[in-house]
């Protein structure tokens, strides 16, 4: 399994000889989703704590479910995003006359989630460190939510977490290049282009969020 991290080309070449199986990729995506949900849970806890006083008392009980809801949502979202990424790669690779089943693409994209597990763990540690040390201001004026939450989300620790997330995304992209090369029978160059377009778009959007917003 570790070969997918060190030599993805040979790993996928070998996997091509077997039947398509989503059992392991589903497990990988699930683990990735659970780890991502930890960060989401912690982040939403901060927001909930800050916004508690903006809500009427009867709504505050409902707010306590927000972090749990966010965590569950993060797990579900990881599967949805998996499908979307695989669909995008499948679509772009079709332009380069890619061949192969969607299920194989989905399987290989799932293996690419392994680096995000490591990245998610590091981010979760950073976010936990941030949440336990931050002085969370109490928001009493709902119009000032953005004004107060934005500096929190743009704190150095959170930015570092995002930067690490992008690094591991690059690592996943590298795995996806070799995955698509075999799953869609593409040249290395075409596989690189197929992966680079959505990943570059995602990274540029993330950098824009970090710097401008």
């Amino acid at each position: 399994m570790l070969e997918v991290l060190t030599n993805p080309n040979r790993f996928f070449e070998a996997r091509m000889k077997g039947e398509e199986s989503l059992r392991i990729p589903v497990f990988i995506v699930l683990i990735s989703g659970i780890i991502g949900s930890i960060s989401a849970f912690l982040s939403s806890s901060i927001m909930m704590e800050a916004m508690t006083k903006t809500l009427p008392p009867e709504a505050q009980g409902f707010m306590s479910f927000m972090p749990i809801g966010t965590a569950i949502g993060a797990v579900i979202a990881s599967f949805i995003i998996w499908l979307i990424i695989a669909a995008i790669f499948f679509g772009i690779s079709s332009i380069f006359k890619g061949e192969g089943k969607f299920k194989r693409t989905l399987e290989f994209v799932g293996y690419g989630y392994i680096p995000t597990i490591i990245g998610g763990l590091i981010s979760a540690v950073l976010v936990y460190n941030f949440v336990t040390t931050v002085q969370i201001p109490t928001i009493t004026d709902p119009t000032k939510i953005k004004e107060i939450i934005t500096p929190l989300m743009k704190s150095p620790m959170m930015l570092l977490s995002s930067a690490i997330g992008m690094l591991f995304m690059l690592w996943s992209a590298n795995i996806w290049v070799f995955g698509l090369k075999h799953a869609r029978n593409l040249s290395t160059k075409n596989a690189l282009i197929t992966v680079a377009i959505p990943v570059a778009a995602y990274i540029l959007f993330s950098v824009y969020q970090m710097v401008v917003m």
């Binding site: 040979r10 941030f130 704190s155 150095p156 620790m157 690490i164 590298n174 290395t188």
Partner: protein, 394 residues
């Protein structure tokens, strides 16, 4: 008998006339009897000097009451003059005053200025009437330049910095007349009230005015008070300087900060958490102790601890505190203000400066720890290395 009766009647008439004509003014004793029968009688019925006793260079008035003593005849007053060599008469004499009915009186007022040394001076009033005696009358005017006195009645033996001291000043009137609009004023910023109005001060009367002095610095303070009063319409003043030595109280509360720690807050840029202990090393309680960040350029107190209420701090006791402050890049010190009250409710304030050190633990931005950057670089190298390795192996 027929010859003696007319002679008897003649003497009777003469005798009756002699008694019917009133005596001339006591101030004109030189007039003969024949003249008294023809000239009317007027007299100075009274006078008033205001103020009763003048001070040198005071302006006052002398009011003279001229009365027609005739019971059935009016008198034409021609003129009235006030004369004096020592006291200056500021107004003109009265001319052609007019007729004064029988038994009527008239007040004539003269403005005077006491340009002479202290003493008693006799001003001459001359009143001339038509078909009446001329009157000369002397009016005594007293000039006494003795001022009201002001002195310290009571003052604490020791005056301590930041503690309120009560100063009592006594104002006395050694003059023969009443002084009005008496007040004591001071421009000292540390003395309240700035003015005490006493009002009227009768002769030989004393009144006391109290001031509170709360010095903010040690050393010799000279408090200047000005006593103002009116003598008639004339303002006068006397100054009083009170030198006081202000020392540090030996028994007061003494608050000192220890164990100060300044920690960068990861949540926001340039926001620091200042924690430490506040100790009372004095011998008295410090009440309502509040710590806050002073208003200064580039310094801004932040929630949740813009200020920290410590409350009562007994002698030899201490309390922890926490403050949050945003400090601009170019600021290196944060002024912390410690406010507390003594048992009398006097407010004390003390400012301590805390240094903000942007040391190795932080980057040039002052927030991101260097160790975190190292982690990021290591991860980046590892990821890039693995990607490069995977491409090399393909």
């Amino acid at each position: 008998m027929r010859q003696t009766l007319p002679l008897f009647l003649f003497f009777l008439v003469i005798f009756a006339i002699a008694f019917a004509i009133p005596g001339v003014s006591a101030y004109d004793g030189v007039s003969g009897l024949g003249t008294e029968e023809q000239e009317s009688s007027i007299m100075i019925a009274g006078y008033q000097v205001s103020p009763e006793v003048l001070m040198r260079n005071d302006i006052g008035t002398v009011t003279v009451t001229v009365k027609n003593m005739e019971s059935a005849k009016s008198v034409n007053i021609k003129d009235a003059r006030m004369l004096s060599r020592d006291i200056k008469v500021l107004c003109d004499s009265y001319f052609n005053i007019g007729r004064l009915g029988p038994g009527e009186s008239l007040n004539l007022t003269f403005t005077i200025k006491a340009i002479c040394p202290d003493g008693i001076y006799y001003m001459k009033i001359l009143v001339a009437g038509e078909d009446a005696q001329n009157i000369r009358y002397s009016i005594p005017v007293t000039v006494d330049s003795s001022s009201l006195t002001i002195g310290v009645k009571d003052i604490p033996e020791d005056i301590f910095k930041g503690e309120r001291a009560r100063i009592e000043l006594a104002v006395g009137n050694p003059r023969q007349n009443t002084a009005t609009a008496v007040k004591i004023a001071t421009e000292e910023p540390e003395v309240i009230p700035s003015e005490v109005f006493i009002g009227t001060l009768s002769p030989d009367e004393t009144k006391v005015a109290s001031f509170n002095f709360t010095p903010q610095t040690r050393g010799v303070h000279i408090l200047n008070f000005e006593l103002e009063f009116k003598n008639g319409d004339n303002y006068h003043s006397t100054d009083l300087s009170v030198p006081l030595n202000v020392t540090e109280s030996k028994k007061s509360a003494e608050l000192i900060l220890t164990g100060i720690e300044v920690e960068s807050m990861p949540a926001a840029m340039n926001v620091y958490k200042i924690t430490g202990d506040i100790n009372n090393a004095g011998l008295k309680e410090a009440k309502s102790v509040v710590m806050k960040v002073s208003d200064a350029e580039g310094i801004e107190a932040m929630h949740p601890y813009k200020a920290y209420f410590v409350g009562l701090l007994s002698p030899d006791d201490f309390s922890s505190f926490e403050l949050n402050v945003k400090v601009c890049e170019n600021e290196t010190q944060v002024p912390l203000v410690i406010e507390y009250k003594d048992e009398d409710g006097n407010m004390f304030s003390k400012t301590e400066y805390i240094s903000i050190e942007r040391h190795q633990g932080t980057t040039s931005s002052g927030e991101l720890p260097v160790s975190m950057i190292v982690v990021l670089i290591v991860i980046a190298i590892a990821v890039i290395g693995l990607i490069a390795y995977s491409w090399k192996k393909r």
